[in-house]
Symmetry: C2
C-alpha cells in the first residue's frame, strides 16, 4: 500500500509549535509540504530560523499569517496549501474555529489541550462535552479524523491508561489511575510559568475536579498532597489538580478512580497563593486611579518572564507517568508507566525546554500515524479510544521513550 505524502499545517508559534516544527522536519519523509501559520508572521519566521541552528533545512517549512479564529480564512489557507493534517498547537482559545476549518476542508485535526472559553475559568465536567464533543457528528459526517489532546498530558498518559486497562491487569480489575506530572527542572528565575501564565494559572484557580468512586469529586487547589519517590527525579510532592484527561478517561475507561497530580515546590505555591489572595490572578478588570480598567492577570503576565525565554537556561528533568493499581493473576498489583525528559537535552535538540518537548513530540507522532493511515480513523476520538501500541513504539524512536516499573523492575516498554 502506498500513500501520497500528506501536507501538514502547524497552527501556532509558541514553544510547543517550535518542537512540532523541528520534529516534522526531522521526519519530513513522512509528510509532503510542511507549513506553519500564526497571526504573527514574524513568530513563524523566528521558529523557521532556528532550524538552521540544528542543521535542518530552513526551506523545509513555509510560513503563513492567519487569524485562526477566522474559520473562512483558515479553511482558505488549508485548501490553498492542500493540507491534509492540521496540528493545532496555538492558544487554547482557538480549538473550535480550527476544528470548523478542518470539517469544512476534510483535513485531519490534532490538538494538545482542551478548548478554553476566555470568559470562563472552570466549567462543568466533563469539559470536552462543553465544546469539542459537540463537533463529533460533524467530523463523522465529513469522514474526517480529529484526535483530541495528543500532547503528553493529556495525550500519552491517556494511551498509558488504555494500556494499563488492556495489557497489564486482569480484565476489569483496574481500580486506580494516578497521573503524576513532575517538573523537577529549574529555570533559574525567581518565579516563572512554563507556558502562557494566562492559561497556566487557570488550571489552579478554579475548583479541582477528580474522578473518584465513579463520580466527580471537588476539592480546592493544594488541598490534597501526595509524595512519591520517582525514577531519576527522586522524592517529589504533587497536588490533586483538575486536568483535561480526567474528562475523557472517566467516560471511555471503566475505572472508578482517576486522578491527576501536579508537582509544585513550596516556593511556587507561596507565590501563587499570595497572587491569588491579593486578587492579582483575577480576569475581572479593576479600575486604576486614572480611570483605566486593567485585568490583573494580564499585568502579572506582563511582569513575569516570557516562558519562551526560559529554555536556554533550563536544567533538570521532567517525569510524567501513570501509577495504576488493579489485580494481576488475582493478586493486587501496582505499576508505573512513565517518561523522563532532560530539559537541556531537549533544548539542544530542538531549542525548547522539556515541557514543550513532551507536548510537541506526541502530536507529531500522531500526525505520522495519521499520515501512515494507522490512526486515520475518520471520526473524532480521544487518545484512549485508539490503539496505544503504535504510538508508544513510534515515540521510542523519536526522543520520548516509555518505561515501566513493576515487580519485574524498571525497563523500556515496547511492543512487537
Amino acid at each position: 500500500m502506498t500513500h501520497t505524502p500528506k501536507n501538514v499545517l502547524i497552527v501556532g508559534a509558541g514553544g510547543v509549535a517550535q518542537v512540532v516544527a523541528h520534529k516534522c522536519v526531522q521526519h519530513a519523509d513522512k509528510f509532503g509540504g510542511i507549513h506553519l501559520a500564526s497571526r504573527t508572521l514574524d513568530k513563524c519566521q523566528a521558529i523557521i530560523a532556528t532550524l538552521a541552528q540544528k542543521n535542518l533545512p530552513s526551506d523545509a517549512i513555509t510560513a503563513h499569517s492567519v487569524d485562526a479564529l477566522d474559520v473562512d480564512a483558515l479553511a482558505e489557507l488549508i485548501r490553498k496549501i492542500d493540507a491534509k493534517i492540521v496540528i493545532n498547537v496555538g492558544s487554547s482559545f482557538i480549538n473550535m474555529s480550527v476544528m470548523d476549518a478542518c470539517i469544512a476542508t476534510g483535513a485531519a485535526y490534532l490538538d494538545t489541550a482542551i478548548h478554553e472559553d476566555p470568559n470562563k475559568v472552570c466549567e462543568t465536567p466533563p469539559w470536552y462535552a462543553n465544546h469539542e464533543w459537540r463537533k463529533k457528528d460533524a467530523f463523522k459526517a465529513a469522514n474526517t479524523t480529529a484526535i483530541l489532546g495528543i500532547g503528553f498530558d493529556p495525550g500519552v498518559v491517556n494511551a498509558y491508561a488504555r494500556l494499563g486497562v488492556d495489557e497489564f491487569f486482569d480484565v476489569g480489575s483496574v481500580t486506580d489511575i494516578d497521573i503524576i506530572d513532575i517538573n523537577a527542572g529549574s529555570h533559574g528565575q525567581y518565579f516563572a510559568t512554563n507556558f502562557n501564565p494566562e492559561i497556566n494559572f487557570r488550571e489552579f484557580t478554579g475548583v479541582v475536579y477528580s474522578w473518584q468512586n465513579s463520580a466527580w469529586q471537588t476539592n480546592q487547589m493544594f488541598e490534597i498532597k501526595r509524595t512519591d519517590d520517582l525514577p531519576e527525579v527522586g522524592v517529589q510532592h504533587s497536588y490533586l489538580t483538575g486536568h483535561d484527561e480526567l474528562h475523557s478517561l472517566s467516560k471511555f475507561l471503566d475505572v472508578p478512580n482517576i486522578r491527576f497530580w501536579m508537582g509544585f515546590g513550596d516556593h511556587y505555591i507561596n507565590v501563587f497563593t499570595v497572587l491569588k489572595n491579593l486578587g492579582l490572578l483575577s480576569e475581572k478588570p479593576v479600575t486604576l486611579d486614572d480611570g483605566r480598567e486593567v485585568v490583573p492577570l494580564k499585568l502579572v503576565k506582563a511582569v513575569l518572564p516570557d516562558p519562551s525565554s526560559l529554555a536556554p537556561n533550563y536544567t533538570g528533568k521532567t517525569c510524567i507517568g501513570n501509577k495504576m493499581r488493579g489485580k494481576k493473576d488475582g493478586k493486587p498489583s501496582e505499576i508505573f508507566v512513565y517518561n523522563v525528559v532532560d530539559h537541556k537535552a531537549a533544548h539542544e535538540e530542538v531549542g525548547s525546554q522539556g515541557i514543550s518537548y513532551t507536548a510537541g513530540v506526541p502530536a507529531v507522532a500522531a500526525a505520522i500515524l495519521i499520515a501512515d493511515g494507522v490512526w486515520d480513523v475518520g471520526i473524532m476520538v480521544n487518545v484512549e479510544e485508539l490503539d496505544p501500541k503504535p504510538l508508544i513504539n513510534l515515540m521510542n524512536t523519536m526522543g520520548l521513550t516509555t518505561r515501566i516499573q513493576d515487580d519485574n523492575g524498571d525497563r523500556l516498554l515496547e511492543f512487537s
Copy 2:
C-alpha cells in the same frame, strides 16, 4: 497677652486629615475659622459629615476645592479665608507647592511627612536638603513659621530625641537613639497597607539609610532585625528601615547612632517580598499584550483594600517610641520614651484607626502651640529644634500620652 484667634486651613482629605479635622473642632476655642481643602470637594464633605457622628458641630468646618499643586490658587484661597496656619496632611507630593503658598501669604506651615518626588524612590541623604530645606531662606525672609514633619514619626519621636539629649542623660553622653514603630493591630484582611500603598511601599523598596558612627550607612530592607519586649504590645520584631526623621536628627543632634525600626509580621514580609521580586511594586510602566502601558504599583494599589476602609474593624494597639542609651551620673543608662494608642478607641473618638490618629494629633497640637505663640518661631524648623516640653504636656491632654520606662519604672511623662 491676648491673641486674635487664628484661622486654620487643613489641606488633604485622607485618614490623617479626618483626625486633624476632628481634633481642630474639639479644640475650636484655640482657633478662629476652621477650613478643609482638597482637590475633591466630596472628600472634604465626607469628613465634615463624620463630625455629627461624634457629637461635634457640622458647621464648624468650611470645605473648599483646590489643587494644592497650583501655588497661585492655594495662595488665593489662603488669602480669601485669611488662614494664618496651614496644616498640610495631603499627599507627600504637594509639600513644596503648599510651602510656596505659605511663603507668599505669610501663613504658618505644618506637615507630617517629607516631600516625595513622584519620579524618584530613594534620594541622597539628608533627604530634607533635597527639597524642604531649600526654602529655609524664603521662610526666614517672610518671617513665617514652618514646622516640618510634626506627625508622630517623624514628629513626636524627634521631640523625644531632643528630650533624651537635654533631660535624661549626662550632657553630650547619648550614643544611641533607636526609634521603634510597632503596629500590633489587626485589620482582619489578608493584606493591606495602612496608608496609600504608593507611598507606603516606597519606604521599603529603596536603600535603607541609617545614621551610625556619625555617618550614613546603607543596608537592604529586612536585612537587620531586632526584637523588643514592649509595653502593652509585648515581644515584637522590627527591621532597620529608612525614615524621614533620621535625616534631620543626624544634623541637629550630636548623637552618633540614630536608627529607625519598623515592625513587620512574617506574613507582611512574605507578601511584600513576593510582590517586589515579581516587579509588581515597580513604578516603571510595563506593556500589556494590548499595547497599553501600566505601572504595576498602581494596579497593586487598585486590588488592595482602601486603607480608609480598614478603620472600623481595626483592633489592637500601636506602640511607638525611642530607646535611648547614654550615661546618667557617669553610669550607662537606657530609657524608653513612648506612646501607646488603641485602634478601636481612636476609631470611636474620631472615626480613624490608630496610625492616622498618632499622625494627626501632634499636628493639631503644634497648630495650637503656633496659635498660642509658643512655637510661632518665624523660621523653618524640624521638631527637634523646638522646646519639646509644651508639646508633650499638651498632647497628654489630647489623647496622646507620653510615658517613660527607666530604672524608676514606667510612668506618665509630664513637665511642670
